[in-house]
């Protein structure tokens, strides 16, 4: 440990002003502070500080994503071998998935952090940790067969347009991970929707996809025919097609538990989104008889609680809606913000068959609305203060 510290100290002059690699100081700083929390002390003010910092907070979110990542890897392998009708061991299933998923994680982090480093070098600023979470989220909300170069392009778009143009971590308006997904969704729709995107059906010689096998997601099924082949239990466990991390509600609940327990993500947003989704689901249940087409009628008649465990709803409200930067920042606002995410997500998915995944658009839309919600919450406080004064004068 001491040796490592000495090494860092030894190479430091190269990166400081006048050094050969002066321009790369943010890179040096990023790595050295990754290894060592620096011995910086408090200036005057509060002399002691809470042990938490942004790195720890972000790391907690990554930990909360691990169950979905591991399950996603296994599920990729499981569905692949199911599609080609081969029975293999659990380990083979997991390894197959890992080989597919890990490169996506590596590309996401490599490209994303690369772009961040470039911006930090240009701005001569410190690397901030925001991308550590986005980098993990992005592969988890993509279909497994998305080509890596498309993933890389989505990441670049998300980091540059979604984040850096606004000033970097903490300044962005839209959730960067969802920007990446939206980019891929609109730029490469054939890779992001339909029946063939969600399961890897690449076959070697001698293998073939089982006759009549459908790779459609639950929501894809429902949008087309109003019925789905998957049971509630399968949706809970997650052995269904979908984006890599979104399928298992149980894995997501584990993550949600950690996030709520540590206080890193807002339970208010999660709970109100759940309520919003349930309310919209109930409204659909009630008005289903008046639907325009039989398919839509069947989709509307899906029990409201089942809507909540389908598709990316759970993943979205646990990991994406709770992003503190792009979400509502006032405690009252969080209730409203969350509620409408749930409400709109279910509405979009039922009404618009072209976008079966409503939660992405619902969150992006509410990202735009969050500052407005906060504005009115804060205005109410200001008004209260002014009334207090008026009352006193009267």
């Amino acid at each position: 440990m001491k040796a490592l510290q000495n090494l860092l100290e030894k190479i430091k002059p190269n990166f400081e002003e006048g050094g050969k690699l002066e321009k790369l100081y943010p890179v040096y700083d990023g790595f050295s502070t990754f290894l060592f929390v620096p011995g910086h002390t408090t200036p005057n003010g509060s002399h002691i500080r809470d042990g938490v910092d942004l790195k720890r907070t972000m790391n907690t979110v990554i930990m909360a994503l691990i169950p979905t990542l591991l399950f996603g890897m296994w599920n990729v392998g499981y569905l692949h071998f199911l599609a080609i009708g081969e029975e293999v061991t659990f380990l083979d299933q997991f390894l197959f998935g890992a080989i597919k998923v890990l490169p996506m994680v590596v590309v996401s982090y490599g490209v994303g952090l690369g772009v961040e480093f470039i911006f930090c070098i240009i701005h001569r600023s410190q690397i901030e940790e925001g991308y550590l979470v986005s980098g993990m989220l992005i592969p988890l909300i993509m279909p497994v067969d998305l080509p890596l170069w498309m993933l890389a392009l989505s990441v670049i778009f998300a980091v540059v347009i979604g984040k850096e143009v606004f000033g970097g971590t903490g300044m962005n308006i839209f959730n960067p991970a969802l920007i990446a997904r939206a980019f891929a969704f609109f730029a490469y729709p054939s890779f992001m929707s339909g029946d063939s995107a969600w399961i890897n059906t690449s076959v070697k010689e001698g293998q073939a996809v089982v006759d009549g096998f459908s790779g459609a997601t639950v929501l894809g099924d429902l949008a087309v025919s109003g019925t789905t082949q998957y049971s509630t239990l399968e949706m809970m466990i997650g052995t269904i097609p979908g984006s890599i991390g979104e399928t298992s509600v149980i894995a997501i609940l584990l993550g949600a538990g950690l996030l709520i327990f540590t206080g890193v993500a807002s339970w208010k947003i999660m709970l109100s989104a759940l309520a919003g989704g349930a309310v919209m689901g109930m409204i659909f249940n009630a008005v289903a008889p008046y639907a325009l087409s039989p398919e839509q009628q069947a989709f509307m008649a899906v029990p409201y609680w089942q809507q909540l465990i389908m598709g990316g709803f759970a993943f979205g409200i646990v990991y994406m809606a709770t992003d503190p930067v792009t979400g509502s920042q006032t405690e009252h606002g969080k209730w409203i913000y969350g509620f409408f995410i749930g409400f709109l997500a279910i509405m979009i998915r039922v009404f618009n068959p072209a976008y079966p995944e409503g939660v992405m658009l619902a969150i992006l839309f509410m990202n735009t609305m969050a500052p407005l919600i906060d504005h009115y919450v804060v205005q109410a406080n200001i008004k209260k203060r002014k009334n207090r004064l008026a009352l006193k004068k009267a």
Binding site: M1, L4, Q5, T33, L35, F36, V37, P38, G39, H40, T41, T42, P43, N44, G45, S46, H47, I48, R49, D50, G51, V52, D53, L54, K55, R56, T57, N59, T60, Q126, E128, E129, G130, G167, G168, T169, G170, M171, F261, T262, G263, V264, S266, P324, V325, G327, Q329, T330, E331, K334, D374, V378, N381, I382, K384, R385, K386, R388, L389, K392
Partner: protein, 450 residues
């Protein structure tokens, strides 16, 4: 008559190093210093030069903008040194103390029979005036303004705070006389907040002429700003003064004896202080009497005041004018391998990302490490957990950062001072210098509006 107000949002940071509840043998005070930086926003002019002889109560400095307000020596002796900093700013006026203190005589008087103007004149002339602080802006009170109310917090809830019962022991009479003087200064009431959880000695609860409110709950229940906010928040255009009970005692002595008798009691606290006791001393006394040979061999930080709002001083420094304790904690200068990842038990956190939630009663030996680097605001809802005001703290801080005076006004900057945000600064994930930002906002608002 008194009701209990429960402060819900806040946190007690439990630290090792509370002072034993007894007094150390009294040490003679050899030197004192009055430190102009303790009085924010005052433009000072010297009344003395090096070598002058002064008595306790003789003016050392005065306020250029309000010449009647004097800043007086707390001992008699010789002006030893005037320490200046950049741009010849006066940093300290040091006085070498006589063995026996000689006092200026301001004449004993009964405040109940004096007019407001006469009381103010006496307080301003004798050096007692700077005890009053004014909100908005957290500056020495302006004697030309009649405050809406005067607030006194009768207990200290900060980490390792001394017990006010011990600090005020035997001063009941002076306290009451002081309160009588205070009552003449305001058009409203003199408010006193006392601790509902740990009732202090009789000194406070038997006072007459004050409106007593009891508070329970974690820090910042004892912070006067919280008490003002929960009893009667400050509106635009209103002025409220605050003062501590120790200083009311000194005002009481002035009226009882006619002397500026600035003897106070302080507590020596903190994990790195060897002998932690209460001491009888004088405002502005040299810290060396209490910390020299009394701190561990580590690299330490000596704080005049508590760990949340105190000022860093050196071993040869002096007690700050408003503080009632000295805290010694270790400096956190060692880099820590993967310090952001390892869930160590020696760090405190209000979040559950560290294992501190497992040990709610553990006393910590916290050091001065920042535990991370300054970042943009990312996490939300964090300050609100420790900020018991009906004010949006982060929005207010952002208004200050962007110099938006109208927003600062609207969001309630009139009601708060730096110390109200001390816990926000502690818990901030982004390591934002919150108190410094609040000070900037107050300065800007004072400059533009006040």
């Amino acid at each position: 008559m008194s009701n209990v107000i429960k402060v819900k949002r806040g946190v007690d940071v439990k630290l090792v190093g509370e002072a034993d509840k007894d007094f150390a043998a009294e040490l003679p005070v050899e030197t004192i210093a009055i430190k102009p930086p303790d009085f924010h926003g005052v433009r000072f002019k010297l009344s003395v030069k090096e070598g002058d002889e002064v008595k306790a109560g003789s003016p050392l400095l005065f306020n250029k903008d309000s010449e009647q307000v004097k800043f007086c020596s707390t001992v008699s002796g010789e002006v030893a040194q005037i320490v200046r900093g950049a741009k010849r700013r006066i940093l300290e006026v040091r006085v070498l103390a006589d063995k026996e203190i000689k006092y200026e005589d301001f004449g004993a008087a009964d405040p109940t029979s004096l007019e407001r103007e006469a009381i103010i004149e006496k307080l301003a002339l004798s050096g007692c005036w700077p005890f009053f602080k004014q909100r908005p802006y957290n500056v020495v009170a302006n004697p030309d303004i009649v405050p809406r109310d005067i607030f006194i917090s009768g207990f200290d809830s900060a980490p390792l705070a001394p017990d006010l019962g011990l600090l005020l022991e035997g001063e009941e009479k002076e306290l009451q006389t002081g309160i009588n003087a205070l009552a003449k200064l305001t058009s409203g009431q003199v408010h006193l907040g006392i601790n509902a959880d740990k009732p202090a000695g009789s000194a406070l609860s038997s006072l007459k002429g004050v409106k007593i409110t009891k508070y329970s709950g974690p820090h910042p229940a004892g912070v006067v700003g919280v008490q003002i906010h929960s009893v009667s928040p400050i509106n635009k255009g209103e002025t409220v003064w605050t003062i501590t009970p120790e200083h009311v005692v000194i005002i009481g002595r002035l009226f009882e004896t006619g002397k500026f008798d600035a003897r106070i009691n302080i507590a020596i606290t903190g994990a790195e202080a060897k002998e932690r006791k209460y001491h009888k001393t004088i405002i502005g006394a040299a810290a060396k009497h209490y910390v020299l040979d009394n701190v561990s061999d580590k690299e330490n930080r000596i704080i005049s005041g508590n760990v949340l709002t105190g000022t860093k001083i050196e071993t040869d420094g002096y007690l700050s004018f408003y503080e009632r304790q000295i805290t010694v904690i270790p400096e956190g200068i060692d880099p820590e391998l993967f310090g952001w990842l390892i869930p160590k038990t020696d760090k405190f956190s209000i979040s559950r990302t560290l294992p501190s939630w497992l040990m709610p009663n553990k006393k910590y030996e916290l050091n001065t490490n920042l535990h991370g680097e300054k970042r943009s605001y990312v996490v939300s809802g964090e300050y609100e957990k420790v900020f018991p005001f009906d004010i949006y703290p982060v929005q207010l801080i952002k208004a200050i950062i962007t110099n938006d005076i109208e927003a600062m006004e609207n969001l309630g900057l009139y009601e708060v001072v730096e110390e109200d945000f001390a816990l926000c600064e502690v818990v901030c994930t982004s390591k934002s210098p919150v108190q410094q930002i609040v000070r900037q906002g107050l300065d800007l608002m004072k400059q533009e509006l006040g």
